[in-house]
């Protein structure tokens, strides 16, 4: 069992997120996180899928993703150098007495404080999963009021890109392709 990071380029069509999500449920894939967003091209979205599994299962997921007509390309980022990042917003309980300690922790983790109130701070922290885990463990004694994480996103390093050449968007279909996610 290991962490597998898959990146998928998908056509920005209605229902594409439902199709991918349904695939996970239908074939019993256990997904740690899924994040979706736009790319440099309007017609396409990019999904980053993280799963804890053996490599045979990750391989099965890649093949099944390819079966979806809307999925253009899938990459297993586990097998090549890549950068991965995740962001968390953490609301930490901090009064005037212990605020300094929290701020010190933030400095060490290069986290940014983006909101301050009398009882709490909102901290923005970006990094690999382990860093986020370590930070939340250290601030937990102060009290985590609320927390949200984006899920992981990833890009291959250097010249490694997801293939999208040969992709020509359909003219009339583009009209119907309004923010479908």
């Amino acid at each position: 069992m290991a962490k597998h990071v898959l990146a998928a380029l998908v056509e920005n069509r209605p229902g594409v997120l439902a199709r991918v999500a349904n695939l996970f449920r239908r074939r019993s894939f256990n997904i740690d996180s899924l994040s979706v967003g736009r790319t440099q091209r309007d017609e396409m979205s990019r999904m980053t899928i993280v799963m804890e599994s053996d490599s045979a299962e990750a391989d099965r997921l890649v093949k099944n993703l390819y079966k979806l007509v809307d999925v253009v390309h899938v990459d297993h980022l586990h097998s090549q150098p890549s950068v991965v990042r995740e962001m968390a917003l953490v609301k930490v309980r901090a009064s005037s007495e212990n605020r300094r300690e929290v701020i010190q922790l933030c400095d060490i983790f290069r986290a940014r404080i983006i909101d301050v109130s009398a009882e709490s701070l909102v901290v923005e922290i970006t990094g690999e999963e382990e860093k986020l885990e370590n930070f939340t463990e250290l601030v937990r004694p102060f009290g985590i009021v609320e927390m949200v994480r984006t899920g992981m996103i990833a890009l291959g390093r250097g010249g490694h890109t997801l293939k999208d050449e040969g992709f020509k968007p359909n003219r009339s279909r583009a009209a119907a392709r309004r923010n479908v996610l």
Binding site: V10, E11, P14, G15, A18, R19, N22, R26, A56, D59, R60, K63, N64, Y66, K67, L68, V69, D70, V71, V72, H73, D164, G166, F167, K168, N170, S172, R173, A175, A176
Partner: protein
């Protein structure tokens, strides 16, 4: 499937397509697209949200609409139509309940990779999501059971969607595609331009030839093998690779086992064809698979019904798997060489370089297993010495199928329902040609038989078509008798009527201590029922009556006919691999000798009501305990 562009071009010519744009309604565009895709028949049922399209159909007499009696019948008919020819079948229904009634047929087509396009009406775009009258999220419902589906949100995209739908349905691994069209899109008008250029779908490119390295690896495994066997599935006939399969088997001298849907991949009279594998496959076939040192799986998917216990499945064999769907490779069974490609192309690649193998010792072993199977056979009418297990005067379902095979010269397209009769068909009706057995293999859909047979006959009016159904499944869709009569479809219906849900009863007998809960059925008089529809009928209760009844049915060349075969109530399909058991751990019909011995033992036990001796508890030789316990019963 192969000749897509030519079919479309031909349709374009026939439809007189020109590049001049004309303004049409969405409904008319649907009809124009159907014509251009070569569609001649639409199976469907009208309703509110699809009414504009039904109105437009009146302007297109080239599109013959068949009114079914239930939308499930429409999707099964489209499926049967597709399976008999390889052409795309089309079903049409309204929104809400019309669309949901299609669902069983869509799932059936999905599991068996059958190319159909379903067109459903939807409430107007403005009303979507408001729980309007007869609104249902049919694209959501059918998401996991279609190859792809569409909700058309503007008339501009309608021609493209229609073209894509047919392209996706028929190419690669075929499957069902659903197009959901809101009523207002059907009413709107737009310039109609049919996309001339071939479709470019960036996320969809069915594979063609195999990689050379893969072919080398496969050839190497074949060269080294001593006990090879080919497992031929549905993919052979779908790829039209039947000739290549026969050539490969002949050139390399490799025997062929068939899956249920693989029947027709090669003539079952071919000396290298062993017959069907799996749960109710031939014992010699299953033994051969278990003892093989190389499995060459072609266009099949290692379904649990053909593998039995995966942990012990063909343990000593290397495995080559060729399939057009990459996700099938290493899904159920891990293989040594996985080849993704079109079977015709891949087999031609292999054929060029495969060598003749001396496999005589292997064939001798298979012949031994086969001889043992023949001892246990009960149905050959020519056999002077009948199996003592067949009681005097009883009509067995297996005999009906065996005789139907003989009296139709083995040349009919047979369409089955699901259950015991389906397995007897597979065992005793030996098919020669591709697309001549149409059956719901993957989903096992009861009620499939009659409507699929109607669809098959309508796509192949030149062929003799028999619907072989059980009394249970027949009653799930028997309302389609009216469709057959209205359309004067010359389909011959054979009901194998045992008054039971026979296969379920068989499981209850084997695994639930003969508690026949909810399997006995009180049936109507099927002959009287058919007569109410004006259908000629005959009832058969003895084997001697079969020939005359079949001949009388065949003599009818217009409209449906029906034969009610009243057969033995508690017959068993032998052999049987219990679910999850090892593939060669079969419950067998006893040989005549074993049968007599068991009868003597039973008689002795009856005289001396002592507790059983350890000897009599010991199961017969290799036969599993269940078989010994059952051996006392006939045919059965």
């Amino acid at each position: 499937m192969s000749d897509e562009t030519t079919a479309t071009d031909r349709a374009n010519e026939e439809a007189g397509t020109s590049t001049d744009a004309v303004v049409l309604t969405g409904a008319e565009i649907v009809c124009e697209c159907l014509l251009r895709e070569g569609v001649d028949i639409v199976f469907g049922y009208p309703g509110g949200a699809i009414l504009p399209t039904y109105d437009a159909l009146t302007k297109y007499p080239q599109l013959h609409h068949v009114l079914t009696r239930h939308e499930q019948g429409a999707s099964h008919m489209a499926d049967g139509y597709a399976r008999a020819t390889g052409k795309v079948g089309v079903a049409m229904a309204t929104s809400g309940p019309g669309a949901t009634n299609l669902v069983t047929g869509i799932a059936t087509a999905m599991m068996d990779s059958s190319p159909i396009v379903c067109i459903t009406g939807q409430v107007p775009t403005g009303a979507i999501g408001s729980d309007a009258f007869q609104e249902t999220d049919v694209t959501g419902i059918t998401l996991p059971i279609t190859k792809h589906n569409y909700l058309v949100t503007s008339i501009e995209e309608l021609p493209e969607v229609m073209r894509e739908a047919f392209h996706i349905a028929r190419t690669g691994r075929p499957g069902p595609v659903l197009v959901d069209i809101p009523k207002d899109v059907q009413i709107q008008e737009a310039e109609f331009v049919y996309p001339a250029e071939p479709i470019e779908l960036p996320g969809y490119s069915p594979p063609r030839a195999a990689r050379a390295r893969q072919v080398d690896a496969a050839l190497e495994l074949i060269r080294k093998s001593k006990r090879p066997i080919i497992l031929a599935g549905h993919g052979i006939s779908m790829a039209g690779a039947n000739r290549e399969l026969a050539q490969l088997a002949e050139k390399a001298q490799i025997p062929i086992a068939l899956t249920l849907l693989g029947k027709g991949a090669i003539s079952e009279h071919h000396p290298l064809c062993l017959g069907m594998m799996g749960m109710h496959g031939g014992a010699e076939v299953n033994h051969a698979i278990q003892q093989a040192d190389l499995l060459i799986a072609l266009g099949m998917r290692f379904d649990d019904r053909v593998t039995g216990n995966l942990a012990t499945y063909a343990r000593d064999s290397r495995k080559i798997h060729v399939d057009i769907d990459p996700s099938e490779i290493n899904k159920n069974v891990n293989v040594d060489v996985g080849i993704v490609g079109d079977l015709g192309e891949v087999l031609r690649q292999l054929l060029d370089r495969v060598e003749r193998r001396p496999n005589e010792a292997w064939f001798d072993r298979i012949a031994e297993w086969r001889a043992d199977s023949e001892l246990r056979e009960i149905v050959r009418p020519a056999d002077a010495a009948q199996h003592p297990a067949v009681p005097e005067g009883k009509l067995l379902g297996a005999q009906v199928i065996r005789d139907l095979f003989e009296f139709t010269d083995g040349g009919a397209i047979t369409v089955t329902d699901v259950g015991q009769h389906q397995m007897w068909e597979a065992q005793y009706y030996h098919h020669e040609r591709p697309h001549s057995l149409i059956t719901s293999g993957g989903l096992g859909t009861m009620g499939f038989g009659l409507p699929a047979a109607i669809g098959a006959k309508m796509s192949r009016p030149d062929q003799e078509v028999w619907a072989i159904v059980g009394d249970g499944g027949f009653q799930m869709t028997m309302m389609e008798l009216a469709t057959a009569v209205q359309e004067q479809v010359n389909v011959h219906i054979a009901i194998i009527n045992n008054g039971f849900l026979g296969m379920v009863r068989q499981w209850q007998e084997f695994f639930y201590e003969e508690r026949y809960n909810q399997t006995p059925m009180v049936n109507p008089d099927f002959c009287k029922l058919a007569e109410a529809y004006g259908i000629p009928t005959v009832r058969v209760t003895e084997r001697g009556q079969i020939e005359e009844a079949v001949n009388a049915s065949r003599a009818q060349t217009a409209g449906p006919t029906l034969i009610d075969f009243v057969v033995e109530k508690e017959e068993i399909v032998f052999p049987m691999v219990p679910a999850g058991a090892d593939l060669d751990d079969m419950i067998r019909r006893p040989t005549p000798e074993e049968f007599e011995q068991q009868r003597r033992e039973r008689a002795t036990a009856a005289k001396a009501p002592e507790p059983q001796t350890p000897e009599s508890e010991t199961p017969e030789s290799e036969a599993p305990a269940a078989a010994a316990a059952l051996g006392s019963r006939f045919g059965v």
